[in-house]
């Protein structure tokens, strides 16, 4: 690998870490993988507002989907 590319990757890595840290501070609840995809989508030019609403929407739905399952599980344990 060329040194320039290596340094570039390194820089990208630190940047990504920074972004993850911001995400954590802001309590977004996104996993690093999901966040990376979101960053890339933003870079490509997807409307951030739409993207954010989409993400938020899905997070909520996943939560709702998992809740009854968990409740069932606890019930079974009881």
């Amino acid at each position: 690998m060329e040194p320039s590319l290596t340094s570039q990757i390194k820089e990208a890595q630190t940047t990504l870490e920074t972004i993850q840290e911001i995400s954590r501070l802001l309590n977004t609840g996104l996993s690093p993988e999901a966040l990376t995809v979101c960053v890339r989508l933003c870079e490509v030019g997807v409307n951030p507002e739409v993207l954010s609403s989409l993400v938020r929407d899905f997070q909520r739905e996943v939560k709702e989907y998992q809740r009854p399952k968990n409740a069932r599980n606890t019930g079974n344990q009881n």
């Binding site: 570039q8 990757i9 820089e11 990208a12 890595q13 630190t14 940047t15 990504l16 870490e17 920074t18 972004i19 993850q20 840290e21 911001i22 995400s23 501070l25 802001l26 309590n27 977004t28 609840g29 996993s31 690093p32 993988e33 999901a34 990376t36 995809v37 979101c38 960053v39 890339r40 989508l41 933003c42 870079e43 490509v44 030019g45 997807v46 409307n47 951030p48 507002e49 739409v50 993207l51 954010s52 609403s53 989409l54 993400v55 938020r56 929407d57 899905f58 997070q59 909520r60 739905e61 996943v62 989907y65 998992q66």
Partner: protein, 805 residues
């Protein structure tokens, strides 16, 4: 950590947007397979509804960062950390669309804090519509370069970089108003439209912020908005002025004024349009600065418009012209532009008037007024007038009069003289109007040239008018004829006419017939030098009767007239009544003179005829003396009238007519001639009493004639009787006369003597009365301020014959 690996993989990965979406869904669903497929399908459904193409500007970055910091402000350590992270992010150039990323974070956190359940349905419905923008397929590099270019550019960029209020408001929180929202409202208000926060004052023209909005903006913003909305006020004021005055029909000059205002408004709308197009770069301050220049213009325009309110035509131009001398440079510029526009209609009217003598002025705004329904003969003196209120301030009254006379001359030439020849100086005038613009009217250095050219052309036109009047229409000949016949200049003719008319005019007025008199006039002409007169002149000479009442003699109603028509009528028509009254006065004097001459000749013949009647001598002596006195009086007054008054005035008039430069000069010369003659023959207002004395004197002459006539009749009867008596005595031899005859003769002689006695008394009474009147007349003359009349008094009172004092 596997983050490094992921990042490395992601940077090299060139997966497309759909692939990325699938990946995202997978991560979000946390590997539960059924959820992944469902979410993915829904995500694509949402993305498929792509409609709005929105782009965030890099300039929004500080704004969003600020919002994020606000979100974190309750935890100072987190805030510190965020600042640190952000600065490192800002230094790196890996993330090219930093704004989008930050916006993504912001939107995510914002809705989370609101609580997911309450807000989500509505948020979803808005967001779904606005998903991906058009740069889905284009490379990020070009997109960001475009953005950077547009952010650096201060010039206009129309196209897709616009931010609509809806997208901005969705970013904004409800508690505070962003500058962009405010800007949007400001732009609305600048065009006279109500905005979200800026509303029109009820019943006013200005704008006020809603109380709700007032709280959520800073004091600086409020001041800026207040200053900018000052412009909105001016805009509304001008617009209102335009719409109000547009409806009224105030003439072309007013229309020009409104049109100029409207074009200024259009220019302003253009400026606003450019500012709005650039609104992404705009701040309230920039708007304020950008509007500085139009605002000054508008201020002056509004001020000028206020001054011009309810004015039209020349008055409006005068109002605008007042600003041309203003010390303020911008006021001068604005008013000059306005003046140019409003002078255009005036200039056109002026050109039309000066070239063709036509006026098309339905709204009475031109400085020349044309009166309709005026007969052609009065064209010169009363058809056209200077409309004083409409004379612009840069045209002096003398210049206005020249303009009036120039156009009037054209009308006179074409309509009255029916002169079809080319008018002089037309080409110069055409050239003048083609080469100069409206500025020639009000710019001092140009207007001098304009007016001097105008004056030159006016002189040429006037000369043409005079030339026509003198040569074609025989002005001098007409003046001569009027003097000869109406002012009794042609002595032999008048004398002859008087002789012929006397028997007719002695009749009472009702018995006089026009045809008899006109036959007499004809014969008087053919028997005197008048027959060599120009035929045209003789045709114009006629007789007329005034209205008579019971007891009037022919003398009272008879008058000679001279018919004038055509171009010369312009000069003479209005003066005919004066000629009439002058003729009356002079004719009376002439007649009295004639009567006196008859009295004198009768006296001479009576002396021979009645030599035998001794008793007659005493009576006739009185008569004789009285007649002499009268003759002296008449001769002196006639001499005064004819030579000192008429001849002198006439000579003066001829002199002035010769030197006349325009028709007006001739008219004034003629009028002043008539005025001085009128004054000279004691017909004017101040000599009324003198004239009435004069008439009494004339009446005494007529009385004396009647007396003498009576005496003559009685004397010739007596003479006849005496001769009869003597003849009888001679025929019947001496002593054959009967006593009866002698008795009769004695009674007759006694009667005759008695008659003579009474006559003598009558004549002496008349003489006494005459003397009284003359004395009063002379006293009045002597006390007159006119030196000529004083001299007349001296001449009449030769050797102090009448004891005045």
């Amino acid at each position: 950590m596997n983050n490094g690996k992921i990042a490395a993989a992601e940077t090299q990965d060139n997966s497309t947007v759909p692939e990325l979406i699938v990946k995202l869904c997978k991560y979000l669903a946390q590997d539960s397979e059924d959820l992944v497929s469902e979410l993915t399908s829904r995500a694509f459904k949402m993305l498929a509804q792509v409609s709005n193409l929105e782009v965030l500007m890099p300039s929004d970055e500080p704004y969003i960062v600020n919002k994020l910091r606000q979100h974190l402000k309750y935890n100072p350590s987190n805030l510190e950390q965020f600042d640190l992270l952000y600065s490192s992010l800002a230094q790196s150039d890996i993330i090219q669309n930093r704004v989008a990323l930050l916006s993504f974070f912001y939107n995510l956190t914002e809705s989370c804090s609101l609580g997911p359940l309450s807000k989500i349905p509505s948020q979803e419905s808005i967001s779904v519509k606005q998903i991906f923008h058009k740069r889905l397929t284009s490379s990020t590099a070009t997109a960001s370069s475009v953005l950077r270019a547009s952010s650096q550019a201060t010039t206009i960029s129309w196209s897709h970089n616009d931010i609509t209020p809806s997208s901005k408001s969705s970013i904004a929180s409800h508690s505070s108003i962003t500058e962009h929202e405010l800007l949007e409202d400001v732009f609305y208000s600048l065009q006279g439209i109500d905005g979200k926060f800026l509303r029109k004052e009820p019943g006013g023209l200005g704008y006020t912020l809603e109380p709700r909005a007032l709280k959520s903006i800073s004091a600086v913003q409020r001041t800026l908005v207040d200053r900018i909305t000052g412009m909105s006020f001016l805009h509304n004021q001008l617009k209102q002025y335009c719409t109000e005055n547009e409806k009224q029909i105030n003439g072309a000059i007013c229309q020009a004024f409104i049109a100029t205002l409207q074009s200024e408004l259009t220019e302003y709308y253009k400026t606003i349009g450019i500012l709005r197009a650039n609104s992404s770069n705009m701040t309230l301050r920039r708007v304020l600065v950008a509007l500085q220049e139009p605002r000054i213009r508008f201020e002056w325009l509004a001020y000028i418009a206020e001054q011009c309110n309810n004015k039209k035509g020349g008055a409006l131009i005068t109002a605008v012209h007042g600003f041309l001398q203003h010390g303020s440079k911008s006021a001068m510029a604005v008013s000059e532009q306005m003046l140019k526009a409003v002078c255009k209609p005036l200039y056109r009217m002026l050109a039309r008037w000066l070239l063709d003598g036509e006026i098309n002025d339905p709204c009475n705004e031109f400085l020349i007024e044309v009166k309709h329904g005026i007969p052609a003969a009065r064209l010169w003196d009363s058809k056209y007038e200077v409309r004083k209120a409409m004379v612009p301030s840069f045209i002096s009254m003398e210049q206005a009069k020249i303009i009036l006379a120039a156009g009037k001359s054209i009308n006179f030439l074409t309509h009255i003289c029916e002169d079809t020849g080319e008018l002089p100086g037309r080409e110069i005038l055409h050239k003048l109007f083609n080469n100069t613009s409206t500025e020639a009217l009000f710019k001092p250095e140009q207007s001098i040239e304009f007016h001097s050219t105008l004056e030159g052309i006016y002189k040429e036109t006037s000369f043409r008018v005079l030339d026509l009047l003198r040569n074609k229409f025989k002005l001098y000949e007409h003046l001569q004829s009027l003097r000869r016949y109406l002012l009794l200049g042609q002595g032999d003719f008048i004398r002859h006419l008087l002789e012929l008319l006397t028997p007719e005019l002695n009749k009472s007025a009702s018995e006089i017939h026009y045809h008899t008199l006109s036959a007499i006039l004809e014969s008087a002409i053919s028997n005197t030098n008048a027959q060599f007169e120009d035929e045209d002149t003789l045709k114009r000479l006629n007789i007329s009767f005034m209205k008579h009442s019971i007891g009037d003699k022919g003398w009272d109603i008879f008058s000679l007239v001279y018919i004038v028509d055509g171009p010369i009528g312009t000069i003479f028509q209005s003066t005919l009544p004066i000629y009439q009254s002058l003729f009356g006065a002079l004719w009376k004097a002439k007649r009295t003179e004639y009567v006196l001459a008859n009295i004198r000749s009768q006296q001479l013949s009576m002396r021979k005829e009645f030599r035998k009647i001794r008793e007659l001598k005493a009576v006739m002596h009185g008569n004789h003396i009285l007649t002499s006195k009268m003759i002296h009086f008449l001769h002196q007054t006639q001499y005064y009238f004819l030579f000192e008054v008429l001849e002198c005035s006439w000579d003066e008039m001829l002199h002035r007519v010769d030197k006349a430069e325009c028709l007006d000069n001739i008219i004034t010369a003629h009028l002043s001639f008539l005025a001085s003659v009128k004054k000279g023959v004691l017909l004017d207002e101040s000599s009324r009493q003198l004239f009435s004395f004069l008439i009494s004197v004339y009446n005494f002459v007529i009385t004396l004639e009647a007396h003498q006539q009576t005496i003559y009749k009685a004397a010739s009867q007596e003479n006849q009787s005496y001769l009869d008596y003597r003849a009888k005595a001679e025929n019947t031899m001496a002593f054959k006369l009967t006593t009866k005859d002698e008795e009769e003769a004695k009674i007759r002689v006694a009667k005759f003597r008695q008659f003579l006695k009474s006559m003598k008394l009558e004549v002496s009474t008349t003489a006494q009365a005459f003397e009284d009147i003359v004395t009063q007349f002379l006293k009045l003359l002597a006390s007159s301020s006119n030196i000529k009349l004083q001299l007349l008094s001296v001449r009449l009172n030769f050797n102090n014959f009448y004891k005045l004092f």
